[in-house]
Every structure is written in C-alpha cells, then in structure tokens.
C-alpha cells in the first residue's frame, strides 16, 4: 500500500477498501503498539528506579501475570467483556502482585538483592500463571480466545478497545513522568533524600500507582510482554546517564519503537500468519538479558 494512500486514509478517507483497512485495522494496532510500548518502557524505568534494582521488569516480577489473572477472572468467571470494566481487574491484579513481590523480594535480613527480587517475581508469576490456566481449563472456548492474548499480541483488538484503554495509559504516563524529580532524590538513598526535603512515602505510593496503571492497562490491551520494560531503560541509561528526567521520557519513547519493530518482524517472519509480538520480544530480549547478566556484576541501582 503506497504511502499516499495511507495519508489519504488518515486525512481524507473516501471509504475505499484500502482506507477502511488502514483506519479500522492498522491504525488501531499501531496506536496500541505505541501506547503499550510507552507504558511498558516507562513502567520498567519506574520500577528499576523505585526498587533500585536493575532486573525489574513488569513481566519478570510477576506484575503482568497478576494483571493477566485479573483479566482471566473477569472474562472467564464473571463473564465481563467490556475492556473498560475488566481493566480494573487488571489493575487490582497488578497492584496486589507488585505489593507481594516487593515485600517478598526486598525485605529480610539480607536486604535488597536483584536476584532475590527476580526469584520472588518468577515464583509469584508461576503461581499466578498456574491459577490463570486453572480457570481457563474449565472453559475451552475462553481458552481458545485467550491463548493468543496470553503470549502477548497486538492483533485482534478493535479501535473501540484501544479508545477505552488509552486514557488509563495516558494517566499513567503523565503521572510517571512527573515523578522524575522525586525519584532522582530517592536514588541518593533514603536518608539523603529525606534531608533534601523529599516526601519518600508519597513518592513511593505515587510511583506504585503509576506502575500499576501502566502495567495493568498495557497487559489488558496486549497480554504479558517480556523484556521491553527491562532492556529499554538500560539502553537509555547507557546513553543519557542516570538522571531520571531524561531516562523516563526516553524510555517511554524508545520502547514503542522496539515494540512496533518487533511486531513488524513478527508479521514478516510469520507471514502469511504472524508471530505474536510478545514472543518476538522474548526471543530478542532473552539473549540481551543473558548478555547483561554475564557482562558484569549487577550493581544495585
């Protein structure tokens, strides 16, 4: 489809089939990719900064799995199909998972350790995934619908769903970007940031709310997607340095590029079908993660 047709479809639609395809299928999918990517990248950056842990990632720490479980309960048991309603279940699941994994991974005698947090997240994620599949097992039809979504996919969401989820993503992104200054203060350590007059408790709660909004909305839209939230902030930090005022916005910009790129790759190699974007991200991101682990000792952020 030539670029001029795309421009026409966006600004002067005439109702020919090409225009309909672009407006009804490809535009929502692209917008969704942009929103989900920005949400995941920012959520990853916020989590890494808040937990001061280089391994924080929405899916790695079980938060996306919490959101998935929430959605599975809403769809499979309660029969709620309106995305604006079931997104609240995703939020609830994400919030509970985040609280639990934070408590499991960062408390204790040994103090915060990246490995501990990662293991706690993986364990929690495994419990939640098993619970989700137990619910789905009762109902093969819901399973058939959910198995694509559960791998992380941008396909199959209509413009209507996108419109309903975008406000939550925007709210999370705005809130997250506003927290850059306080998070910078927090990075100095609790005592130092308190001495600077930062309100630690408020920053933590607001950051947790932003993370929940971002992860919940992104997961409700596209399912759990691995490694975008992990790799992007690291790449950004390597370029712009540790200042959150740069890291957060650039993470929110770079992540959608990665996500849409992966989506295009998935569609090209899977043609005539497609490989779900979550799978492409994991297959690309997994080796990056392993290289990161191998390269150096993981310092606490």
């Amino acid at each position: 489809m030539p670029l001029s047709t795309v421009v026409d479809a966006l600004f002067a639609p005439t109702g020919i089939s090409d225009h309909v395809v672009i407006r009804e299928l490809r535009l929502p999918r692209t917008l969704l990719g942009l929103g989900v990517g920005a949400a995941l990248g920012l959520a990853g950056a916020l989590m890494q900064s808040l937990t001061r842990n280089p391994l924080a990632d929405p899916a790695l720490l079980g938060i996306s799995e919490g959101a998935v479980f929430g959605v599975v309960i809403a769809l499979g048991i309660l029969g709620i199909t309106d995305p604006a309603l079931y997104v609240w279940f995703a939020f609830a699941g994400a919030a509970v998972a985040f609280a639990a994994v934070h408590a499991l991974g960062s408390a204790g005698r040994t103090g915060t350790s990246p490995v501990r947090l990662a293991l706690a997240g993986i364990a929690l994620g495994a419990v939640l995934t098993a619970a989700s599949s137990a619910v789905l097992r009762l109902d093969t039809q819901t399973y058939d619908r959910m198995r694509f979504w559960m791998t992380g996919s941008l396909a199959g969401q209509t413009a209507d769903v996108v419109v309903r989820l975008v406000p939550f993503m925007v709210a999370g992104i705005v809130l997250g970007l506003c927290l850059a200054g306080p998070l910078n203060a927090l990075a100095l350590g609790e005592d130092a940031s308190r001495a600077l007059g930062a309100n630690i408790g408020r920053t933590r709660v607001l950051a947790a709310v932003a993370i929940t909004l971002l992860c919940g909305a992104a997961t409700a839209a596209a399912g759990p997607i691995w490694f975008v939230g992990l790799a992007v902030p690291h790449a950004v930090r390597a370029v712009v340095g540790p200042d959150q005022r740069w890291v957060l916005p650039f993470s929110a910009l770079l992540a959608p590029i990665l996500l849409l790129g992966s989506d295009i790759v998935g569609r090209l190699i899977g043609s005539p079908g497609e490989v779900q974007v979550g799978i492409v991200c994991a297959v690309i991101g997994g080796p990056v993660f392993i290289a990161m682990v191998r390269r150096r000792r993981l310092a606490a952020l």
Binding site: I122, A126, R147, I279, A282
Partner: protein, 339 residues
C-alpha cells in the same frame, strides 16, 4: 544439640540424626497411607484387603483391572515423580544457595516442556514425548550452564541466566501452542500444567530406573555440597573440587527433573517446597536429599488425591493443586519476612 550417631561401613560413613530418621519414617508411612487411600477410594471403591489381593494377582477381575492397571501405576508414578522432583529441588537449592532456586525457574522444566510439546503436536507416542522432554531438559540445562560459565559458575549467575533461558523457552512454547490446532493445544496445555491422569506402568518405570541409578550418585555429593554452601572460597580451602562437584550435582538434578517432567509434565513447585518443608521438619541446617525426596513423594501423592476427589465432578490436573501449595509457601515466606 540433637544427638547424632553415625553409621560406618568400610569407606562410607553416614551421619544419622534421630529426628531425621523419625521424620523419614513418618513420611514413608504417610506416603504409603496416602497411596493406599488413593487406590482404594474413587468411583469404584475397593477395600484395602481387596487392594492387596488384587496387587498380588488374586481377587475379582474387575478390582484387579482397576487397581493393578489404573490406580496403582498412577499412585506409583506420583510417588516416584514427587521423589525425583524433591531430590532435584534439594540439589538446586543447595547449589544456588537460595530457597527459591528450584529447577522450575531455571529453565529446565521449560526445556522439557518444549520437547514435550513438539512431540505432542507432531503426534508422538508416550515414549517419544518422554524422550523428547528429557532431551529438551538436558539441552536447556547445558545451555544455562555454558552461558553462566565464566571463570567458574556462580550460584546467582546460574539463576539469572536460567530465568533468561526460561523466558525464551516459555515464549517458544506458547508460540507452538498457538500454532497447534485447538485439540492438540488443549492436550499439550494439560500436560504443561502437570497431570497424572492416565499414567500407566510405562510412565512409572523410567522414573523408577532413574531414581535407582541416580540416588546412589547423590550420596558422595552431599558432603562436599554442604561445604560449598559455606561459600566457594571456604570450600576450595577445604580441598573440595568445587566446579566438578557442582557440575555433577547439576547433572544428577537435571536428569531427575527431566525424567520426572517426562512422566508427569512440569508439576510446579514440588521441587521448590519439598526441600524447605523437609528442612523445617528435620530441623537440619541445610536441605537434605533423602527427606526432601520423601517429602516430594508425600506432597505429590496427596495433591493428586485431593485434585481427584476434592472438587466433585471436576478433576483438576495435579499441577493446579501444587501451584496453590506454592502460593501458600510464598505467603508463608512473606509473613516470615514481615517479622
């Protein structure tokens, strides 16, 4: 201090704590009782004396078919798979020096699952599925070990590389599931949760063989592993060949977990929880292999019993029950950390 006696024959000497022996005996009794209960109850109840008669080839033919061909192999598979997972979990928790370092999270069960799914959707037989699962698990383990190896393999790097490999394999698995038709996918998904339904003697036999071969190999490993738990430097100073012991322990652990996964699917959390529960029961400072294995057997046979009987007409795969157990275990850890 509990009094400790030791048993010496020739070059071998095994330390025995009375409490450990007591706990082991208790676990054996529980496992046998749970197994007998699982065999004798159900839609067609068979009283215990008839069970024993049926197992020795007497009694009425209907009871003989139900007991000897259906229920006994299932129970035996549960016991053996549970024991294999328990021992494998104990080995890995000791290796990674972390109570959460179980083979479930290190990519080995995901690798086994990849092999299993490939065989399932290409229409393989039970033996092919088992063999393919074992190969997948070994392949994943070799990749994790090689990728984590850099001037020696440290516990934490094993864990993190395992998580990365596991994530890749999980997404490959779900890709395979989306490619399969819905019936194959549902079958494979049931296997992926970990299920004991329909397991026969040809599932139990490989696990029994693997346990018989691999358990004796664990005995000479347990003491050097206790030393390595104190840290690599300390162990080297004591004259322990750290890397060789670690490789051997990993090989045994992966083989056990691969064989068990091949038989019953990746039953979650047995390998995670069994060593920890056993450790608390025996009051031992570290994880112990034999009690962990017994505990795993008890957990799996009871969980399978509960999964079959607890929910009336709906029979959940046993993996759902053990996952709930894992959740309870995590909650317990959470409460302990709060204090």
């Amino acid at each position: 201090m509990t009094p400790i006696t030791s048993l010496r024959t020739g070059n071998l000497s095994i330390r025995l704590s009375p409490r450990g022996l007591l706990v082991s005996a208790g676990l054996i009794v529980t496992a046998v009782a749970g197994g007998l209960l699982a065999i004798s109850t159900g839609d067609f109840p068979v009283p215990i004396p008839d069970v024993i008669a049926a197992l020795t080839g007497q009694g009425n033919p209907a009871a003989r078919i139900i007991v000897a061909d259906i229920r006994a192999p299932r129970v035996l598979t549960a016991l053996l798979v549970g024991a294999a997972f328990g021992v494998s979990g104990a080995l890995f928790q000791s290796l990674t020096r972390n109570p959460l370092g179980s083979p479930d999270f290190l990519g080995f069960t995901s690798g086994a699952a990849t092999g299993g799914i490939l065989a399932t959707i290409t229409g393989g037989t039970a033996w092919m599925i088992a063999g393919s699962a074992l190969l997948g698990s070994l392949g994943a383990a070799v990749s994790v070990y090689l990728l984590a190896f850099r001037r020696g393999s440290q516990g934490y790097r094993l864990v993190l590389v395992g998580i990365g490999v596991s994530a890749i394999l999980v997404s490959v698995n779900s890709y395979l599931l989306t490619r399969a038709n819905i019936n194959d996918a549902a079958t494979a998904a049931a296997w992926l949760t970990g299920s004991l339904s329909g397991r026969g003697w040809d599932h139990a036999l490989p696990v029994a063989l693997a346990l018989a071969v691999l358990m004796p190999l664990c005995a000479p490993l347990s003491r050097p592993m206790r030393m390595i738990e104190m840290g690599d430097e300390a162990a080297v100073a004591m004259g322990i060949p750290v890397e060789r012991v670690r490789l051997a322990a990993m090989a045994v652990g992966v083989a056990l977990c691969g064989v068990a996964t091949a038989a019953a699917g990746p039953v979650a959390f047995v390998a995670l929880t069994a060593p920890q529960i056993a450790r608390r029961l025996t009051h031992s400072p570290g994880v112990t292999l034999v009690t962990s294995g017994l505990m795993g057997a008890v957990i799996l046979v009871l969980a399978d019993l509960a999964a079959q009987r607890l929910f009336g007409a709906i029979q959940f795969p046993v993996g759902v029950l053990t996952a709930a157990l894992g959740g309870a275990y995590l909650a317990l850890l959470l409460r302990k950390e709060r204090r």
